[in-house]
Amino acid sequence: MDIGAPLRIIEIEPVSLPLPETLPEPERIPDTEPAEPG
C-alpha cells in the first residue's frame, strides 16, 4: 500500500495500553407498556 511521502515524526507516550473503544450504551427500553389511548 502506498502511504505517500513521510512528513514528520510524532512521539506518542500513552499512559497505558490503548484499550479498544467501548460499545455505546444500548438505548433504554421502557419497562412499562404505553397507556391505552382514550
Binding site: M1, D2, I3, G4, A5, P6, L7, R8, I9, I10, E11, I12, E13, P14, V15, L17, P18, P20, E21, T22, L23
Partner: protein, 195 residues
Amino acid sequence: MGTIPAPLETFSASATDPILAWRTWTLAGSRDLGEVRLLPIAGDGKPWPVRDPARAACRRPPRHHIVPGFGCRCGLHATRAPAPLRRTRDPAVLGTVALWGRVVEHEHGYRGEFGYPQRLRLACYLCFWQWGVPGACEVVARRFGGRMVPLCGPHSELSLRYGFRVGRLLPAHHVEQALLSTYAVDVLRSVVPQR
C-alpha cells in the same frame, strides 16, 4: 560555504493520544477456532500478539536504527482512510488500529512503533476490491496451513463454481466472534465506501 540543510527528523511533535488509522490483515486459525490470529499482509508474517502490543522491527541497514526510521519503510503500516486498502493483496480482515510510540506520519498514512487493533471485521476480499466495502461474509474457507479466506454468499458460490479450493467451510459469524474474543475488541460496524 553552503548551508547544511536541517535533517527532516527535526520536524517532530509529541502527543499522548494514540493515532487511530486503518489497516488490513490476513487471518489464520485452528480448525476448532481455539486459535485465531491476525497476520500482516506483507513483512515477516508473524502473527499479531494477543492482548499485547505489536512492536515493529527492521532488518534493513543500517543495523539497529531507530524503528520506524524516517527514511526507511519499516514500522506498522496504516492508512488515514480505508479506500487505499482496497489495493492490498487478499485482505481477510479490515479494521482500525491504534498506533503509538514513535510514529512517522505520511501523506496518506502512518508507520508506527507499537500497535493494537481497535475494531475489526471480516472482509470478503472480492467485495472489498470491487466496491470498497468488506461485504457481508457468510463463510470462511479454511485452507491448508490454516489460512482463512472470508467470503460473502455470492462470491463463495462463484468460487465453488470455478473450482477455487475452499478447503473446510466455517460459518463466518463463528470465526468473527472468535477473532473479536481473542483480541478483546469490538466489531467494526460500518465502512463508508470511498473511491
